[in-house]
Symmetry: C2
Subunit: 96 residues, 2 copies
Amino acid sequence: MDGFLLPMDFTTTLGLVAGTLTTAAYLPQVLKTWKSKSADGISWSMLVILCSGVMLWLLYGVYEHDLPVICANVVTLMLSTLILGLKIRYRYPVRG
Amino acid sequence: MDGFLLPMDFTTTLGLVAGTLTTAAYLPQVLKTWKSKSADGISWSMLVILCSGVMLWLLYGVYEHDLPVICANVVTLMLSTLILGLKIRYRYPVRG
């Protein structure tokens, strides 16, 4: 049945779309945090655990030579680190 | 070199730890949102795009018969949907 009902690259396309969505999801959060100048509603633990996990996914992608996993996690790591950075910046503003 | 410097199941373990972290990350966010009775700091778009993406990852796992992907994404879907549900509940409280 496989390959008859579904085109051969259906699951690959599905994975790519899924990866694009779970990566792109953090972009509106970056914009919201940037505009509101606050990330108080976002949990510190969530951001730290998320960044660590994404870093390990990236390492996993490197070991597995899996380019889609590497690309998705490089972008997710950038966005989640950016949210964490903004949270630190707005929580502990530099005075001077 | 592969399999000589690294034990054979190193990357699998790495993937499992990474998946556990990126899944568990949403738990402190659920608790924070529940305790503060507000999810105003979390972007609607982020939650909706994230839930859609995780749903597609789950479908990907089902097509690929990939149990770790299925398990991780079932839990992530539950937690992200819970945050979305709490955001809706606190944003539009039922009056009566």
